[in-house]
């Protein structure tokens, strides 16, 4: 900075000289007269608004190419240079997924203009490795499984790499700060911390390790295995691969940015789409004029949406509406496809839609009022639902309220009168949006001989089936591919209205069409967890048993159904007299979709708090009471509380309590001082659903190479690795030696990745198919070959290859229903002056049958806990009542737990061998999410002696509960 006195230079006005400080203003470059200043503009080169030629150094290579002035560095990398490792998630600098280095400094490439890079060297995730040699941080990410879906991984790796380049021995706090801007929806933070610490030669921090095989439970097999399936495996300590922690077989692809997601797919001649959406929350479309859009050069197809969204009217009007009715702000009415995204965006603005706005309602309380505007003019039914229950066909509907979906047992009224005491409450939970990092989207390629769709999906076959139905083509001509996908959490089933639009545009244009939703669209129109209000009343007896349970709930899934609160309230604990009445309340909001254990976290939030209240009334330890309550017969279905799952929870309560230090628990509000500490726990119960459409093929080549084929996809849980481990175990080879061909409907149909039943469905047939191939091999080459390594035995084959298929059969002795789950313990602090709750530590004890890969199961438990924690404390979709629009469809004001909110999480896994199928593997994704908010709420009560029955537990809510709001009501 120059310290020369500018007043001494010719031409500068004295007036400009500073007084008071005696210091000069530093302005680089020459100081000119005011006349000369105007000429400066002419002297500077003006570039744009058309394409500009630039030179950019990326990963040591020089690139010359053209960009528009508004092209971000992220888009330049991803589209102009074909380097798709860097991901775009929010496109607004709120999530750091797009992190690259500029001269070693981490920045958001989505908020950097390509033109502004200049001579600075760009480093992307593709440039971290040295040829085949990964950077230490990349190696440690793989070793610790610091990834799940992998979509945040490039950005995370880049943030960590920048830290380690400048700080040789970072503290845990340094690491958390370095990734404090990186959003991971799958909840990899604990492993990221471990990876960064070990990459710098330090120990992994506490709360990042998993304890596997903490206990082993055996159930008696109900029946023998079929003769065409192998005998049961022994317990996993006797196995070579299964049950031992295994880094992901696709880990390398994720940490180097080579994993290709739907958002990364580029096909020759690919067009870009943009949706035209309604700004009105409720409207009739009078006219749509696409002529101006069609005329825009570069536009190749325009499509007007024909299908309704949401539920179907039971009695549709005799005269159909010309266009689908708009029922929520953000609903799609048309779409365009063009040669560039910019042209598509401009064309979408040229589509003229004439709306007739209608009265609307966006909050549940308003929707339940008499004379509330009607979302649907009459009763409706809906096939799929938000998944929380209550979507049964033919239910009554009055105004916007549909239901109840009723489950009844015994005589609740009478039994309630016999109770010694009653604990009850009204519990309130909010709308939560899935917010997967990769938005929903497809690349649709319609050709005369069939259609191929790349989809970010958790159920490839569901997408294929819907395309076949909607477009009336044989399934055999439809192919859906999901090689990698960036998170789903329940919202990515089916084709979606956006997918239908993309396929229609591709068909019209005769070219592939890419349609990826942006972050705002992602929040608005592809799913959410419904908000709920539930009244739960528990009639209890002095001896700690339950006389009666009455549950009534209302759920708001927008225009969709499924706003239930699950079945835990009335079936978790033994009670002969229960009623559950669950209603849906329609509002003009985006449709709900199943979200990680639909209904269950809300149900757990209520029942687990009331059971704690019951314990307090009885002066019993909450764990001791649960030992008593959980021992009863329980309800058989649905998602039943069978003896096996109750036995598992008993062990988990004991082991979890020991590991957590449950004995440290003191009376509520014991701490002096404004920050109070509390301990709490809650239980998880999830149902067992066997998806019989789980099939696969295993091929063995003469050269010993092995392939596994199934349309099953990997939603980020590590399905690819787990299956490889199963096949490897059976064949006596390494998981890396199994060529995994999944996520493609041209392969045998595999299960969806939902319901926490993927591995429950596919591991048994995977093992069976491998076993059948093996048996075929030895039948061909002789039993003596059993002593040889597989490769040597295969070399003796007479044919090039052999193959065997398997489909999931019923569990031995029939489907037992039943369930699985876990127990979670939470330690929190509550600042009673600011209302801030922090979760300090969690211990989670879970079962999932035979644990295949402890490392990956731990990642799932971490992720479930972080979802639950985020649901409990931060996330909230805000709707503006006056206009019916969501006001925070982004990732800075829709708040999701990130690195600094992550507690120490100790995961304890028990094995349970059930003797039900060839592998006895169960699921974990949803059970891990169910009890977290309830455990936190119970811990909060223990901390402050005040019960919070509203989620999220924001400062306003906490302060109101503590009576600190000066009489003003704290609205949610």
């Amino acid at each position: 900075m120059s310290e020369e006195d500018p007043s001494s230079r010719p031409g500068i006005s004295r007036r400009s000289f500073l007084t008071g400080t005696g210091l000069s203003v530093a302005a680089a470059g020459l100081l000119k007269t005011s006349e000369a200043l105007a000429d400066a503009a002419a002297a500077d080169k003006v570039e744009g608004p058309g394409e500009v030629a630039i030179t950019m150094k990326v990963n040591e290579a020089i690139h010359h190419f053209k960009v528009m002035p508004g092209t971000t560095l992220a888009d330049a990398l991803r589209f102009d240079l074909g380097m798709t490792g860097t991901k775009v998630v929010c496109d607004r600098g709120s999530c750091s997924a797009c992190t690259v280095h500029l001269d070693g400094m981490p920045v958001c490439s989505c908020m950097t203009l390509a033109l502004d890079v200049g001579t600075r060297a760009v480093t992307t995730v593709e440039g971290l490795a040295n040829g085949d040699k990964l950077a230490p941080i990349q190696e440690q990410f793989i070793a610790h499984d610091a990834m799940q879906c992998g979509f945040c991984t490039p950005g995370m790796v880049m943030s960590c790499a920048a830290l380690l380049a400048t700080n040789q021995k970072p503290s845990l706090e340094d690491v958390k700060t370095a990734v404090s801007g990186n959003l991971c929806r799958c909840g990899t933070y604990p492993k990221v911390f471990a990876a960064a610490m070990t990459a710098s030669g330090q120990k992994p921090p506490p709360g990042t390790q998993v304890t596997a095989h903490a206990a082993v439970l055996h159930e008696e097999a109900k029946a023998a295995h079929p003769s065409d399936e192998p005998p049961a495996w022994p317990s996993s300590d006797k196995l070579k691969v299964v049950g031992k922690s295994q880094p992901r077989v696709d880990g390398r692809l994720k940490v180097t940015g080579q994993a290709r997601y739907t958002a990364d797919v580029r096909l020759p001649g690919m067009l870009f789409a943009r949706r035209v959406v309604s700004p009105h929350p409720h409207a009739r479309v009078r006219a749509i004029d696409v002529s101006a859009a069609e005329r825009l050069p570069g536009v190749k197809a325009v499509h007007v949406v024909e299908r309704n969204e949401g539920a179907k009217l039971r009695n549709p009007p005799k005269v159909a509406e010309k266009y689908p009715l708009v029922r929520y702000a953000g609903q799609c009415v048309a779409g365009v496809a063009a040669t560039t995204q910019a042209i598509a965006d401009e064309a979408a603005k040229l589509v003229k839609v004439t709306y007739e706005p209608l009265p609307f309602v966006v909050e549940m309380d308003d929707a339940r009022k008499d004379k509330a505007p009607l979302v649907y003019p009459g009763p409706v039914d809906m096939g799929g639902s938000g998944g929380g229950g209550g979507a049964a066909k033919g239910l009554e509907q009055h105004g916007n309220v549909r239901g109840p979906s009723r489950r009844d047992k015994g005589d609740v009224e009478a039994a309630m009168k016999t109770a010694d005491f009653v604990v009850e409450g009204v519990f309130d939970t909010q709308v939560q949006t899935h917010s997967a990092l990769e938005t929903h989207g497809v690349v649709a390629d319609w050709r005369p001989d069939g259609v191929t769709v790349y989809a970010s999906s958790q159920a490839t076959s569901s997408v294929r089936d819907e395309i076949a139905t909607v477009f009336d083509v044989p399934k055999s001509k439809v192919r859906v591919i999901t090689e990698f996908m960036g998170g789903g959490f329940g919202a990515k089933f089916g084709l979606g209205s956006f997918g239908t639009l993309a396929v229609a545009l591709s068909k019209k244009a005769g070219a592939p069409v890419r349609l990826m939703l942006d972050r705002k669209e992602e929040h608005l129109c592809v799913g959410n967890r419904p908000s709920t209000v539930q009244t739960l009343k528990v009639g209890a007896r002095k001896d700690g048993s339950l006389a009666a349970i009455a549950l009534e709930s209302h759920g708001n899934g927008g225009i969709a159904t499924g706003g239930g609160v699950g079945w835990m309230g009335t079936t978790l604990y033994a009670c002969d007299n229960t009623r559950s009445d669950q209603y849906d309340v329609f509002t003009n909001g985006g449709p709900a979709a199943a979200f990680r254990a639909p209904g269950q976290p809300m149900g757990a939030f209520a029942i687990e708090q009331l059971v704690d209240e019951m314990a307090e009334h009885l002066k019993m330890d909450p764990l001791v009471l649960r030992d008593k309550l959980d021992a009863g017969a329980g309800a058989p279905a649905p998602g039943g509380n069978d003896a096996a799952t109750r036995a598992a929870r008993k062990v988990e309560r004991r082991i979890g309590a020991e590991k957590f230090g449950w004995h440290r628990r003191r009376a509520p509000g014991s701490d002096k001082g404004p920050v109070k500490r509390g301990l709490g726990m809650a239980q998880s119960m999830w149902g067992r659903f066997v998806e019989l459409d789980s099939s696969c093929e295993v091929r063995l080549h003469k050269d010993g190479s092995v392939e596994f084929l199934s349309s099953v996809q990997d939603i980020g849980t590590g399905t690819r690795t787990a299956i490889a481990m199963i096949v490897a175990e059976e064949l006596g080879i390494r998981p890396e030696d199994v060529e995994m061909k999944i996520g493609d409907t041209q392969y045998p149909v595999g299960p969806s990745s939902g319901g926490s039943k993927t591995l429950l469905g596919i591991t048994a047939p995977a093992r069976v198919a491998a076993w059948r191939v093996k048996e075929q091999l030895y039948r061909q080459v002789g039993d003596a070959a059993r002593a040889l390594p597989l490769r040597k035995a295969a070399a003796k084959l007479a044919t090039e290859s052999i193959r065997a298929q398997a489909q999931r059969s019923e569990d031995y002795g029939g489907d037992p229903r039943g369930g699985y789950g876990g127990v979670q313990f939470a330690e929190v602090t509550v600042d009673t002056e600011t209302g801030i709750i922090k979760v300090v530590r969690m211990v989670a004890a879970h079962d999932c049958g035979r644990v295949v890969n402890p490392l990956a199961v731990q990642s799932q438990v971490n992720g479930g806990i972080l979802h639950g924690l985020s649901f409990a404390l931060y996330e909230h979709r805000h709707m503006d009542r006056a206009t019916g629009r969501m006001v925070n469809p982004n990732l800075d004001q829709y708040k999701i737990a990130m690195a600094k909110e992550t507690p120490e999480i100790e995961v304890v896994l028990i094995d349970q061998y059930l003797g039900r199928n060839a592998t006895d593997v169960q699921g974990i994704g949803e059970p891990a999410n169910i009890p977290t908010a309830a455990a936190i709420a119970n811990a909060v009560y223990n901390a402050i002696g005040v019960r919070i029955r509203t989620l999220p537990m924001k400062p306003a809510v906490v302060l109101a509960a503590l009576g600190k709001l000066d009489g003003k009501e704290a609205r949610k």
Partner: protein, 327 residues
């Protein structure tokens, strides 16, 4: 984003010369690009300041040194500067906690001071609010849990710069340079309440740019602290932020500067809190009295009443943190 002309300015004066209707200047671009992506701003031409050498200085000048910041100094540079951390710690703290590491590497002090509000009605092209020339403040009767608790009759935004909270507490000055020359004014006077012009947050002239930020040398023993109270620590806008700068005479405060962020449309000088503290020994009782005084006359909206007890706690704690006592 609508396309635009792009000019790489060679100097601040060069950029100033080009200021014209339809022209915007880009520094780090963090706020500008967000607004352009939303369609709130559609400039004909973007003049790029970023990359001009010599505008990112962070220096102490004179004896005792005042802090002189070039407009392109980044928040990360300010947070890491030994000069800033040593003598203006509340400012370093504010910079260190703003946004995310990536944004701090990109965001400049100049851009930070003139960034537009984060009110979700303002930030969305879907709402034509008063600040954008419309007739309604949607926050008044709408979703206002993060909005202003005082000075909110006309427009309920909170000023978006948490760094400004600290700079105003340190009584920083701004040098603005325009086509007609330069002027220097206290940063506090640069920010303007909605009553002056609801469509703007500051008094920057149409042909002016920020040329420099100067922070006076602390006079005598000075104790300072800053706290940004967020709902979640990783990355969040403040629900309440407080900067306290106290000139001390032994244990007594001779002059207090207490500024609240996320309370009002401008950085809010808590004058009654300052007066309560001046001339007093700064102990727990004094801090509490000051915090209470600060919260007199607040006019919270339907959903943001919780900010009052939060501010009370944060103000009290920050005052005590400044003097090194327990809260």
């Amino acid at each position: 984003m609508k396309s635009f002309e792009w000019v790489q300015a060679q100097s601040l004066d060069d950029a100033i010369a080009q200021l014209h209707h339809g022209v915007v200047v880009k520094a780090g671009g963090v706020d500008l690009i967000d607004r352009m992506k939303e369609g709130l701003d559609e400039p004909k031409r973007v003049v790029n300041l970023h990359g001009i050498a010599g505008l990112d200085g962070i220096k102490q000048l004179g004896t005792p040194g005042e802090l002189v910041l070039g407009p392109l100094a980044t928040l990360a540079q300010m947070a890491a500067s030994p000069d800033v951390r040593g003598r203006w710690p509340a400012l370093a703290e504010a910079c260190a906690h703003a946004a995310t590491p990536q944004i701090r590497n990109m965001a400049t002090i100049g851009g930070n001071l003139v960034q537009r509000p984060r009110c979700w009605y303002f930030r969305s092209a879907d709402f034509h609010c008063k600040k954008k020339g419309g007739s309604v403040c949607y926050a008044q009767a709408g979703e206002n849990q993060f909005h202003a608790i005082v000075g909110n009759a006309l427009c309920a935004i909170v000023h978006p710069s948490s760094v400004a909270t600290a700079l105003v507490a340190y009584r920083a000055n701004l040098t603005l340079k325009g086509k007609k020359g330069e002027r220097v004014l206290p940063l506090e006077q640069f920010f303007a309440p909605p009553e002056k012009d609801v469509t703007r947050e500051n008094t920057l002239g149409p042909d002016e740019l920020i040329a420099q930020v100067t922070v006076p040398a602390p006079i005598g023993p000075t104790r300072a602290a800053y706290h940004k109270q967020v709902e979640k620590e990783s990355f969040d806008w403040p629900m309440a932020d407080v900067a306290v700068v106290l000139r001390m005479d032994g244990r007594t405060c001779s002059r207090a500067s207490i500024v609240l962020g996320a309370a009002a449309p401008i950085p809010w000088r808590a004058r009654s809190a300052e007066q309560t503290l001046e001339g007093r020994v700064v102990d727990a009782a004094a801090a509490e009295a000051a915090a209470d005084a600060a919260m007199h006359g607040m006019t919270p909206l339907a959903q943001n009443g919780y900010k009052v007890p939060v501010f009370r706690a944060v103000i009290r704690r920050t005052i005590l943190a400044a003097v090194g006592g327990a809260s």
